[in-house]
């Protein structure tokens, strides 16, 4: 007779993230949002490609970018995409503790990525005097990469809020879609980074 939506192995639907109308709406809503994000990032990429050689006598991409740090950042973010897949695997098996553990690893990897990015920007600003105002290339670079970093920051805040807010509740049909939509968002951040390391850093090295 209760209205308890807690999941247990007997009552758990196969896809808890889409078992309710609200969950399905969240699912479609997030995909709609990601479609829009694609256009947003395309504008930044287009601007960057157009302006990447307009250095106004300041540092150029070949002077600035080192591949080692970018490779480390790429591996960290790719791995965090996999750890969130593991988290969703445990969500579907109704194992809340393991889900929280893998989400915590995801958050840790996200923070490591962010730390490296902050180090990178500081290095450019202090050692090269390369800032947002240095050149059109500088503006386009910091807008594109910075906006991605902003997305990572927001993602970590979102994830931590979800984890803390639901720590004592356990998994139910109300919060399962919230965890799932976060994981979609996190994968999308990785998708954008794949194009950033290719178009900005690797193509920047090729010249």
């Amino acid at each position: 007779m209760s209205h308890d939506h807690s999941l247990n192995p007997e009552t758990m639907p196969q896809e808890p993230e889409k078992a309710t109308l609200e969950g399905r709406n969240k699912f479609y809503g997030l995909w709609f949002f990601l479609g829009g994000e694609t256009v947003l990032f395309a504008s930044f990429f287009g601007t960057y490609i157009a302006l990447r050689n307009s250095t106004a006598g300041g540092p150029a991409s070949t002077d600035l970018f080192g591949l080692g740090l970018v490779f480390a950042m790429t591996m960290i973010l790719l791995t965090s995409s996999l750890t969130s897949v593991y988290a969703m695997y445990h969500m579907k098996n109704n194992d809340f503790k393991k889900m929280q553990l893998w989400l915590a690893i995801t958050a840790f990897l996200g923070l490591s990525f962010l730390a490296l990015e902050i180090y990178e920007f500081t290095h450019y600003i202090i050692d090269y005097g390369f800032t947002f105002r240095s050149s059109a290339f500088g503006s386009a670079f910091y807008t594109l990469v910075g906006f991605h970093g902003g997305h990572v920051t927001f993602g970590i805040a979102w994830l931590m809020a979800l984890m803390v807010r639901n720590a004592k509740r356990g998994l139910n049909l109300y919060n399962a879609p919230k965890f799932y939509t976060f994981s979609l968002y996190w994968h999308f951040i990785d998708v954008v980074w794949v194009f950033i390391f290719t178009v900005v850093y690797l193509m920047g090295r090729v010249g």
Partner: protein, 107 residues
């Protein structure tokens, strides 16, 4: 009673299905890491013409992103027609934006 007799069977089937799915996702991850390493080596080795390296790393990126969408984000699964429509709509508008911006600069 009848319901109960089936539960275990269904559960083990579902479990196996999820395990199978996880295996596919691990393979996708290994491929994605592989593509990334190839892209970095292609650039770091500095032996190929930019004419070849740039299209190569772009193709590697597109393939890698397809794995991310279809496996990690489940776009290959049923019930994902709407997400796929929304995403391809976004990609279409993104392509037009990129083409427009590149056109006004390079022409």
């Amino acid at each position: 009673m009848t319901n109960n007799t089936n539960t275990n069977h269904v559960d083990s089937f579902e479990k196996r299905k999820k395990k199978e799915e996880m295996k596919k996702q691990l393979i996708s991850f290994a491929l994605m890491i592989g593509f990334t390493i190839i892209a970095f080596i292609a650039v770091a080795a500095d032996v190929m013409e930019p004419m070849f390296v740039v299209p190569l790393i772009l193709i590697l990126a597109v393939v890698q992103v397809a794995f991310q969408f279809y496996y990690f984000m489940h776009m290959k699964d049923k019930d994902h027609e709407m997400p796929a429509t929304l995403m391809y709509g976004g990609v279409w508008a993104a392509a037009l934006t990129l083409a427009g911006l590149i056109l006004i600069v390079w022409w």
